[in-house]
Symmetry: C2
Subunit: 337 residues, 2 copies
């Protein structure tokens, strides 16, 4: 079927070693030989067999990316960015979905399917700090997100607290005093929800505003529907507020829908801000103010760090894990003007 190195060598009248040298751009090949070999390669449409190369070299050229679900826009846009970053490193990306399920996340870390990859970029949503030990794996691994800090592996994350504080401060600067939060997780101390809530509290404290638990909308997941329900619930409870901070854009958009249904004017009656800078926030009505958590840079950093680990695997001992913190940018749009 497909041509092998040997086929090319026969046709070109050289040894497989020489063909291999040409294929891998070795320097010490005579120009005439190279041309002849290249001709044979073209003629036979030779393509290296990746399995064989992988078996021999121990490298596959594939990196794994594990996310909860691609239908969550944040992760779709993250995956997009990771694939593009990987491409620049000559790598291709295999995507696994964990469904934000703790057990599936843990299982994935020791799945034989990872044998196909040189390393993994892992964005857990179900695991918590107690599960950090599971991250102590024997292959290159970079963790994203806010579920686990100080684990045994490299970690790339965003400035959740600072960014949430900045978002809240923006609302305060617009004169808002009763700022509702949509998307908190009851009793949680780790994860994006907890960190962003902390940033919110810090901003309130700095401005001398009281913290009122009435204003906190708790949800299970961060789907559109959850934002919608939490907002509706808060309105039905008769809670007074003049601003809403959606802990992510999806929640904020869901909340905005309910607000408009209830005839609140945005931003006149209620200012709304989200978090993530999803593409669609530019096209909602009104366009949603939000925080760009540096998604592109997170993806680039994750891939770069992973590649360093992959390429440095010969090192005598594993270097200490590093935490990378990516900068955010506030994007003010119509919903807070």
């Amino acid at each position: 079927m497909a041509a092998t190195l040997q086929d090319v060598a026969n046709l070109a009248g050289v040894s497989v070693k020489t063909v291999s040298n040409v294929v891998n751009n070795y320097t010490h090949v005579r120009a005439t030989t190279r041309t002849r070999v290249q001709g044979a390669i073209d003629q036979l449409k030779y393509q290296p067999n990746m399995s064989a190369r992988g078996l021999r070299s121990g490298r596959t050229g594939v990196i794994g990316l594990a996310v909860p679900e691609l239908s969550l826009s944040y992760f779709a846009e993250l995956a997009d960015a990771v694939i593009k970053a990987a491409e620049r490193h000559g790598m291709v990306v295999l995507i696994e979905q964990t469904g934000a399920d703790r057990k599936r996340e843990i299982d994935l870390l020791s799945s034989p399917r990872l044998q196909l990859t040189d390393g993994l970029i892992f964005s857990p949503l179900g695991m918590g700090s107690d599960d950090a030990s599971h991250l102590d794996v024997s292959y290159p691994l970079v963790v994203l997100g806010e579920r686990i800090f100080g684990g045994p592996v490299d970690h790339v994350t965003m400035k959740n607290i600072d960014a949430a504080r900045a978002a809240t401060e923006l609302l305060i600067a617009r004169g808002r005093k009763r700022i509702a939060v949509i998307g908190a997780h009851e009793g949680e101390v780790v994860g994006s929800a907890a960190l962003r809530l902390q940033g919110y509290k810090e901003a309130l404290a700095a401005a001398g505003l009281p913290y009122d638990d009435e204003l906190i909308g708790y949800v299970g997941l961060w789907h559109r529907h959850d934002g919608l329900m939490a907002m509706r619930n808060m309105i039905e409870r008769g809670v007074e507020f003049d601003a809403v901070f959606g802990l992510n854009d999806t929640l904020a958009l869901g909340a905005m829908r309910v607000l408009q249904e209830a005839h609140f004017k945005i931003p006149d009656d209620v200012s709304v801000i989200g978090f993530d800078d999803l593409d669609e926030t530019q096209y909602s009505l009104p366009a949603l103010s939000t925080v760009d958590p540096g998604r592109a840079e997170i993806a680039e950093t994750a891939v770069r760090v992973l590649m360093e680990r992959i390429n440095g695997q010969t090192a005598p001992k594993k270097p200490a894990p590093v935490e990378y913190l990516v900068d955010f940018t506030l994007r003010e749009r119509e919903s807070t003007l």
Copy 2:
């Protein structure tokens, strides 16, 4: 480093063949032997080397999925569905992004990166009918979408014309007579835009309504922004209309935003319907009526057909290509009530 079959065999005091039999769930292994081998496997944390297995068997256990961009929600949701379907077949998915660029799409089809994969599910957006010959490749390939019909490969697609006709008929049934279309592609005769426009025309004709080119909003791409601009443009031109058919949901949502900005009431003044049944259509304000083109079934069919081709590769000659047409469902929501 990692344990090999030989290591396990040594520890268990059997031959590699026996270990291989156990790993691959061969039936003819004595229970006691199996237990002993399994113990050795667990103890050594043995995991098969996929590259070696791939080299030997010619199979990698990976299928490729090529889409324009994951940040387009439709393709993110499609990828999600494909990954889930592949998982049921014990396969893992490697995703390539082509950026809807014709040249990149064509290049991808002969890329050595596909060597890692047992077959490809390909959703082109840049290629046209003239490029069909490029699809005549030597590996299992299933094509999705509306760019190429009657090509040399299996093709899974949706009932674009019928579904668009049904969507238009719904608007007509609601008493609408001047139905604008957002998202047509100037001069195009192939692709989703052209087919859906045809369905629209058929519905008008069947209802005895005139076709008016004034009502057709042409766009370049199918991004949110394009829907927004096309709608704005139509309003500025002073065109009169009482309904809008967005040729996909993203366009419809962009258009809806502009309509509301211009103080049209939806659905009172203008009914709006989209196409794709994206998750977010349920949470827009008003919730967007749309057509579910059977995305989940498309994904399942594509994976199933691809697996059949992969498993049937030993067949003496390539079977004739097949066209699979998946059924749609109308989803009426608030925007057309």
